[in-house]
C-alpha cells in the first residue's frame, strides 16, 4: 500500500505546531497503524530527519499508552480498539490520512503526537484508590461479592485510561474516565469506606484540571477502546448528587 500521511509536528509544548505531509510506500495491510508510523520514522531517520514522536508501549491494546486521532476519530476508524490494534487493512491504497494528537487543554502536547495525560493520574490520586491495607493477598471469597457486581465493576475497571473519551468528546470532557474509575471502586465492598469522599474529590479534581462538561453526545462511549458505557456517567451523577446533599454540601477546591 502507498499512503499520503499528514502528521502533526510540534517541537514542544510552547511552540506552534503544523501538519507535515509524507508519502509512505510498501505498507502491508497486516501492519498495525503504529508499525506504519515506524516505517515512516525509519525513512525519516534514513534521510537524517527528526522522527515523529508518538506514544506506545504494550502494542496489544491493554496499556492505554497509544493515542492519536486518525481521520477525525480517536484511535481511528475501528471500534473497540486502540491505535496499536488498528490494522492498515482498514485503509485503502492511495488513502490520505490525517494524524493529530488528542486535543484538550488538560492534555498539553509534549511533542508531535505525544500529549501529557498526567491530569488523569491526578484524578486517580484524588480518590481512585482504597485505604485498606495492602498486605498479602487475602483468601479467595473472604469478602463476598456477587457475580453481578463483580462483572459490572469489571466493566468499569476495564478502562485503560487512554484518554480517547476526552479526545472524542466535543467538550473535551473527562466524565467517562472519571465515572469509570469512581464506579469501579464504589460498587465493590472494598470501596465503601471512602465511597462519598471518593466521588467528591475525583469530580473536584476533574474540574480543577479544566476538562469540559458532559452534554450527552456519547462520542466517548463510541470511541472507547474498552467500550465503557455512559451508564457509568449517569451513576456518577447520581452518586455525586447523593454525596453532596448529605452531611457536607461543599467539596474541597483542588489545585
Amino acid at each position: 500500500m502507498k499512503l499520503k500521511v499528514h502528521v502533526w509536528r510540534q517541537a514542544n509544548a510552547s511552540s506552534k505546531g503544523k501538519f507535515e505531509t509524507h508519502e509512505v510506500s510498501d505498507i502491508s495491510p497486516d501492519m498495525s497503524f503504529l508499525e506504519m508510523l515506524d516505517v515512516l520514522n525509519e525513512e525519516l531517520v534514513d534521510h537524517e530527519k527528526e522522527p515523529v514522536a508518538f506514544d506506545h508501549d504494550c502494542r496489544e491494546g491493554i496499556c492505554g499508552t497509544c493515542s492519536l486521532v486518525i481521520n477525525g476519530e480517536a484511535h481511528g476508524p475501528q471500534r473497540a480498539a486502540t491505535t496499536c490494534q488498528l490494522h492498515m487493512r482498514k485503509f485503502d491504497d492511495g488513502d490520505e490520512i490525517w494524524v493529530e494528537p488528542f486535543r484538550a487543554g488538560a492534555f498539553p502536547v509534549i511533542r508531535d503526537l505525544v500529549v501529557d495525560r498526567k491530569a488523569f493520574d491526578r484524578i486517580i490520586q484524588a480518590g481512585g484508590f482504597i485505604t485498606a491495607r495492602t498486605g498479602s493477598a487475602c483468601d479467595a471469597n473472604e469478602i463476598p461479592v456477587s457475580k453481578e457486581i463483580a462483572d459490572r465493576a469489571m466493566d468499569a475497571a476495564a478502562c485503560i485510561g487512554c484518554g480517547a473519551c476526552v479526545a472524542a468528546c466535543p467538550n473535551a470532557s473527562a466524565m467517562l474516565f472519571t465515572a469509570a474509575k469512581v464506579r469501579h471502586l464504589n460498587m465493590m465492598p472494598q470501596g465503601q469506606p471512602e465511597r462519598e469522599v471518593r466521588v467528591r474529590n475525583m469530580v473536584s479534581q476533574m474540574d480543577a484540571e479544566g476538562f469540559g462538561a458532559c452534554s450527552n453526545h456519547f462520542e466517548c462511549e463510541a470511541a472507547c477502546p474498552k467500550e465503557i458505557s455512559v451508564e457509568f456517567i449517569a451513576e456518577m451523577n447520581r452518586e455525586f448528587l447523593g454525596a453532596m446533599v448529605k452531611a457536607d454540601n461543599t467539596v474541597p477546591k483542588r489545585g
Binding site: 501538519f19 486521532v69 481521520n71 477525525g72 476519530e73 490525517w98 493529530e100 486535543r103 484538550a104 487543554g105 488538560a106 472524542a168 466535543p170 467538550n171 473535551a172 470532557s173 469530580v203 473536584s204 476533574m206 474540574d207 479544566g210 476538562f211 469540559g212 462538561a213 458532559c214 452534554s215 450527552n216 453526545h217 456519547f218 462520542e219 462511549e221 463510541a222 470511541a223 458505557s229 455512559v230 451508564e231 456517567i233 449517569a234 451513576e235 456518577m236 451523577n237 447520581r238 452518586e239 455525586f240 448528587l241 453532596m244 454540601n249 461543599t250 467539596v251 474541597p252 477546591k253 483542588r254 489545585g255
Partner: protein, 236 residues
C-alpha cells in the same frame, strides 16, 4: 492545595443538575401552555374564558411569570457557564473531526437555546406586551380585536386567528416549534442522564418517550397556526 471549598453549583456536575431541574420546570410549562392553546379548537367562548380567568388572577399569573423568568435566567446562565467551560477545554480544534454517536439535536442544543430565547421575546411582544409596545407589535402583525361578549372579555381568540392569517407570522412560529422540538427531545432524556436516573432496562424507553413527547409538543403547538392559516378555524 488550597483550602477553599466549592459549593455544588461551582462544580460541572452541579451545573448540569441546574440545567436538568430548570429544564424540567420549563418542560412542564410548555405542556400546560400547549393545552391552553389547543382550546382554540373548542371555540372563542372557551379560549376567551380561559384568558379571562387567567387575567382575573393577577397574583397567580405574576407569580408564575416570575418563576418562569427566573427559571429561564438560571437555565440560560448555567448553559452559558458550561459552554464557556467547554470552549476553554479544547483551545486548539481538530483539523478533522468525525461524529460517530452524536446527532443534530445534541449538537444544536446551544444554538436552539439561543433561537428559543429570541423566539420567547418575539412571542411575548406579539401576544403579551403588545399593549406596552404597540408600534413594534403593529410591525409584527399584531392585531387588536374588539372585546368579546357582553362581559367585554379580551378577544384572545380573534387575536390568534388574525395573527396566523399572516403567512410570515405562521412561518416564524412553525420554525420556532421545530427548534423547540429538537431542544425538548435532547433535553428531556438528558434530564434523566444528568440526574443519574439511569437504568439499562429503561434507558431506551426514556429515549423513545422523549421522541414521542417532542413530536406531541411540536404537533400540539403547530396545530393552531396551521389550522388558522389553512382556514380550518375562522374568526368570530
Amino acid at each position: 492545595m488550597s483550602q477553599a471549598a466549592l459549593t455544588i453549583t461551582d462544580t460541572t456536575l452541579g451545573k448540569k443538575y441546574v440545567m436538568a431541574l430548570s429544564g424540567l420546570v420549563l418542560f412542564g410549562f410548555v405542556i400546560v401552555h400547549m393545552l391552553g392553546n389547543l382550546q382554540v379548537f373548542l371555540g372563542a367562548e372557551a379560549m376567551n374564558g380561559y384568558a379571562h380567568t387567567l387575567q382575573s388572577n393577577p397574583t397567580i399569573v405574576w407569580l408564575v411569570r416570575f418563576v418562569l423568568a427566573a427559571t429561564i435566567i438560571v437555565h440560560f446562565g448555567a448553559a452559558f457557564a458550561l459552554t464557556a467551560q467547554n470552549k476553554k477545554a479544547r483551545p486548539i480544534k481538530y483539523r478533522m473531526k468525525k461524529d460517530v454517536a452524536t446527532n443534530y439535536a445534541a449538537k444544536g442544543m446551544i444554538y436552539g437555546g439561543v433561537v428559543l430565547v429570541a423566539y420567547i421575546i418575539f412571542h411575548l411582544m406579539h401576544f403579551t406586551i403588545a399593549d406596552t409596545a404597540p408600534v413594534i407589535a403593529g410591525k409584527l402583525g399584531y392585531v387588536h380585536s374588539s372585546p368579546f361578549g357582553p362581559e367585554q372579555m379580551p378577544n384572545v381568540y380573534n387575536n390568534v386567528i388574525k395573527s396566523f392569517q399572516n403567512t410570515g407570522m405562521t412561518a416564524v412560529y412553525l420554525v420556532a416549534q421545530v427548534a423547540l422540538g429538537f431542544h425538548l427531545y435532547h433535553g428531556s432524556w438528558s434530564i434523566f442522564q444528568s440526574l443519574g436516573l439511569s437504568h439499562r432496562r429503561y434507558n431506551d424507553a426514556v429515549r423513545s418517550v422523549a421522541v414521542a413527547f417532542a413530536i406531541v409538543v411540536v404537533l400540539g403547538f403547530a396545530a393552531v397556526p396551521i389550522a388558522v392559516w389553512t382556514g380550518f378555524v375562522q374568526a368570530v
